[in-house]
Assembly symmetry: C2
Homo-oligomer: 199 residues x 2
DNA sequence: CTAATTATTGAACAATGTTCAATTGCATGC
DNA sequence: GCATGCAATTGAACATTGTTCAATAATTAG
């Protein structure tokens, strides 16, 4: 059976990740299983453990790709916006838009809480910090002070807040309906928080 | 063997929930299993399925108790605060304090995303809406307008935001250390958002 | 004291993650 | 062209999970 389809390790990884994303989009986290992924790509379970250490590492890679997609969407938003004031609002909406459009995969990033002890691998941690840096860049020209500490704080507050509103909206805990309602909440947050900051 | 220990259904439920909370506190979501809970309370798996429909309903009840505890902490905060302005800040800190102190159980509320189709049972949904109502009451005297829509919107923005900051802080994605740093973020949010609202 | 009832069990099933000896297909050396 | 070695792939096996339900044991009723 060996080398039957003659895929490189990287090709198998790619196929497995793509199949996993399809499964998650269709049925959420519970729809994911080693055997299902293996069947989807025409291999068996054993092969998966040849290219991924275990399920945890596998999911980490899925999440990594999701984060990459998300940040790409955000970078597109940044590059198409000119006025710094509008840019932040647009960026926050993009965050929600992406989460809403790919909710199952986006939720997986946060559903999968890791054990306290072992820290996340560096390559993954960097994908998280990247979000801050992006926001900090956009905030820099807006926030009154150029104090880097203040900018960093504002970025964390804004990111956390938009994340929270998005999370509750996606899991339908906000008791609101329609995209516009969520936009209203995000806009209210950004407008008023920034107004307070620059007052 | 039957009736060996002579506990009523409600007593068994209570014991099972208490045991589950202990297990979750100790080892998180993954530490929870029907057999472990059963062993802990001196019964077998079958008995659990006599008092709970399935794992989903079981977890719903665990979460329900967590929410009750959280809201009780928030009500204590409200009742000990006099100045409305300070009250909101204190309330938000309480939300974070509770989440940080009981992180495993608090996380379980959100890790466990439900399937799209079937809505949450009413008794559970009410425990979610209760949070808004609490915040709305506290916001009412502060927000300039008495427009109920505006108050509701502000409550949702604030709750979502504090939730997001708390979530990222608890899962150590905020890249900050220490309780005070998180307090700073929450205070920044509340102060500036409210300043913007009442400008 | 027997019979009916009811609480409780635990064996059984399907599905999960994970491992690893066995197997199969390919390339190389002769 | 054939045998040998290597590496890719398998799939059976194990432990653990949620869930079910006939069998059983303890209690109550008659």
């Amino acid at each position: 059976m060996a080398r039957r389809s003659d895929h490189s390790r990287d090709e198998i990884r790619e196929m497995a990740l793509a199949a996993a994303e399809r499964l998650i989009n269709a049925q959420g986290y519970k729809g994911l299983s080693a055997r299902k992924v293996a069947t989807e790509i025409g291999y068996t379970v054993g092969t998966l453990y040849l290219v991924f250490k275990n399920q945890e590492e596998f999911i980490l890679h899925i999440n990594s790709r999701t984060l990459d997609e998300l940040y790409q969407a955000m970078e597109t938003t940044i590059s198409t916006q000119q006025v710094p004031g509008d840019c932040i609002k647009a960026l926050c909406r993009t965050y929600y838009d992406y989460a809403a459009a790919h909710s199952k995969r986006w939720l997986l990033i946060f559903e999968h809480a890791l054990p306290d002890k072992d820290a996340l691998p560096d390559w993954y941690q960097q994908r998280i910090t990247r979000g801050f840096e992006m926001l900090e860049q956009v905030l820099e020209p807006i926030v009154a002070t150029h104090n880097q500490q203040q900018v960093g704080k504002a970025a964390r507050v804004l990111w956390g807040s938009v994340h929270g509103i998005t999370m509750l909206a996606v899991t339908r805990k906000l008791d609101v309906v329609g995209v516009d309602s969520v936009y209203e909440l995000i806009d209210s947050l950004v407008e008023n928080y920034l107004a307070g900051l620059t007052r």
